[in-house]
């Protein structure tokens, strides 16, 4: 069994704990006694909020909508190049202010930073926000 120290993904308190991992599966949680905030305690979400990661409904491959309205699985390359060319086309026709991105308070700092860079530097749009207001 491996123990991986991490930060809780549920609320802004930022408790830390160890995820106990066996065969790429979470088998338990161990609190961290000397963490300055959680001090060995966790709430029910920290203790038990992890089984979703193995849920059968997880998305497994990129999906693209077909002409009949249904989704079909596609490769990453297909998904990337469709999105890329469509974004370029829209920006060329309607300007970069016709596109926007919404980043996420659930993602990491590094991902949020990249999203901002993607918006302002790659798409050259000012339209970037996230759901903190909600």
């Amino acid at each position: 069994m491996r123990k991986v120290l991490t930060t809780c993904g549920y609320c802004g308190t930022g408790c830390n704990f160890y995820l106990n991992v066996e065969d790429n599966e979470i088998v338990g949680v161990t609190p961290k006694n000397d963490h300055p905030i959680s001090k060995g305690k966790l709430c029910v979400k920290g203790w038990q909020g992890h089984s979703f990661v193995h849920h059968k409904d997880r998305l497994k491959k990129p999906l693209m909508r077909q002409s009949d309205g249904s989704f079909s699985e596609v490769s990453w390359e297909t998904a990337y190049s469709y999105i890329g060319s469509k974004l370029k086309k829209i920006i060329k026709e309607k300007g970069s202010e016709a596109v926007g991105v919404l980043s996420s308070a659930r993602c990491t700092n590094e991902e949020n930073y990249l999203m901002v860079k993607f918006a302002r530097s790659v798409l050259r749009t000012n339209n970037i926000d996230h759901c903190a207001r909600l």
Partner: protein, 527 residues
């Protein structure tokens, strides 16, 4: 937060308003209970619902939803009229006091009582407790910000701390508790339409030059559309494409039908998420992201503490960490994004964001660091504004109370307020699929007090139809004496009884936070 979570235990007085702390931030709630039980702190709680913390309060007062601003201004009025201010602090560290004084005169307790339902003497008692304490902390959450007057509410709380000098010292301060785990970090990183990463001004020449070195000349440095404006733009056809990472506005936005039409109007909607969320169902392309257990990175908690997130699992099937997806897309579009790991992205962040300047993965290995942490030897910052404010003086703001747009009427006689419950998290995409959590609260409900339930003939566990000006839902009844008469409460985690179908398009004019906390509704029992 201006101060740190642990400092709460050393506060003489803790004033909790608009935060159901034990439910939304359980570990911080516990810390507040400890402060009361073990250290004799005095707790003040103002909330329309008799929340669990109320049991520990020296003063608990119910308050009519939507009237926080009148209430806080009432407290300011008492502090000024009874001369409980910290004159020395006002003189040395603030500006704008005379304007504040002039604006606050009319909020006499007698007047405020009839607006808020808080008794005159209670307003006075709260003012005295808070102002006279050696150290007093204010703790608030979305009960303060999710109103048409959200920005003013926050301003009024800041006035309270400035007026009494309860800021810039240990165990004091104005402490917003952030809801989602990394709201603080998303804001720090500049995922906002009106600032660059690190809250640097868009039109600062120096910042532009610095960013151009890493982002290329000609990056977009104007002010963009907010989330609400983007949805509006999609609705009226101005916006053609939206790229949404790990958010589910189809459940968390007010007025769902409107949002649905807006998103369906787009030429391109890309949604990156771990499940096929309500929003993803409308997308043209859905990209499978990874959960926080399947990636490396950092989160910044509500007290500005940057901490490591570590990859415990290989991502499910072909899903990828969101940063990898963004890199892949950037490369496909012909931009370089050669980051081998999030640690490398952090190196770029620290080069651009001064308050993260001293934050490296190596330093974070041992323990988190609280920003501002400007250089590699800086120990991080426990509380802000020590020895003065960054921008010179602390500015008082004038915040006039305006009535909520949602008042009870003959047709819609009840006030609905919304929020979270302990076992679920935001729109429930994750928690509703964690069986141990879902078992406890599998479905939505509406809280109502026994008197009102009786009047309407509603039974415990029976169904009720709740309608507002814009929509209706049916939901189970939960009768409880913890809620004020005339007010009902519905948590917003449940797709099949999506309370946001009821909530209109009113929002705070400055930051456009939707008015989630107040909505006039009509109730009818369903057989």
């Amino acid at each position: 937060m201006t101060n740190s979570i642990n400092e709460l235990e050393d506060s003489e007085v803790i004033f909790v308003i608009g935060s159901n702390t034990t439910e939304q931030h359980p570990i911080i709630g516990m810390r507040i209970m400890n402060a009361v039980k073990k250290k004799g702190a005095k707790l003040i709680v103002a909330d329309p619902r008799k929340i669990p913390l109320a049991e520990y309060a020296t003063v608990y007062t119910p308050i009519k939803p939507g009237t926080n601003l009148a209430f806080i201004n009432g407290i300011l009025n008492v502090i000024i009229s009874e001369n409980l201010m910290n004159q020395e602090f006002i003189k040395s560290s603030t500006e704008g006091f005379e304007e504040l004084r002039a604006s606050i005169g009319k909020y006499m307790p007698e007047a405020v009582t009839s607006i808020t339902g808080v008794p005159e003497d209670t307003i006075r008692e709260i003012a005295r407790l808070y102002a006279k304490a050696k150290t007093a902390s204010i703790v608030y959450a979305m009960g303060i910000t999710q109103h048409v007057t959200g920005t003013k509410n926050v301003g009024a709380l800041a006035n309270l701390a400035l007026l009494t000098g309860q800021v810039g010292r240990e165990a004091t301060g104005v402490n917003p508790l952030r809801g989602q785990n990394n709201v603080q970090g998303a804001c720090d990183m500049g995922a906002l339409p009106d600032v660059l990463p690190g809250y640097q001004d868009l039109d600062s020449q120096a910042a532009q030059e610095k960013f151009a070195k890493l982002w290329g000349e000609g990056f977009a440095w104007g002010e963009g559309k907010s989330l609400g404006e983007m949805i509006e733009g999609a609705y009226n056809g101005e916006m053609k494409a939206l790229f949404i990472m790990a958010e589910n506005p189809m459940l968390s936005d007010p007025n769902l039908e409107h949002v649905k039409k807006a998103l369906e109007n787009l030429e391109l909607l890309v949604v990156q998420d771990i499940f096929l969320s309500e929003t993803a169902k409308l997308a043209h392309v859905v990209l499978p992201g990874a959960s926080f257990m399947e990636k490396d990175g950092t989160f910044t908690n509500t007290e500005r503490r940057v901490q490591r997130v570590r990859k415990a699992l290989v991502p499910m099937a072909e899903s990828k960490a969101d940063w990898e997806i963004l890199c892949g897309l950037m490369k496909t579009m012909g931009y370089s994004a050669e980051y081998s790991s999030p640690a490398e992205i952090m190196e770029e962040i620290r080069a651009l964001v001064p308050s993260y300047g001293g934050i490296t993965y190596q330093r974070l290995e041992k323990e988190g660091l609280q920003w501002p942490c400007p250089d590699i030897n800086h120990p991080g910052t426990k509380f802000l504004h020590k020895g003065g404010f960054v921008r010179g003086l602390g500015r008082f703001t004038v915040n006039e109370y305006v009535e909520s747009t949602q008042q009870p009427s003959e047709e819609y006689p009840f006030i609905l307020t919304t929020g979270r419950i302990h076992h679920h998290y935001h729109t429930g995409t994750m928690t509703r699929r964690a069986w141990a959590l879902d078992r406890e609260h599998p479905e939505g409900y509406m809280e109502i007090c026994p008197q009102d339930a009786k009047k309407l003939g509603l039974r415990q566990e029976g169904m009720v139809k709740v309608s507002s000006e814009i929509g209706e839902i049916s939901i189970k009844v939960k009768i409880t004496d913890k809620i004020t008469p005339g007010v009902v409460f519905i948590p917003f985690h449940f797709g099949e009884a999506a309370v946001n179908k009821l909530i209109g398009q009113h929002h705070d004019p400055v930051v456009q936070i939707p008015e989630y906390k107040v909505c006039a509704v009509k109730l009818e029992g369903v057989r």
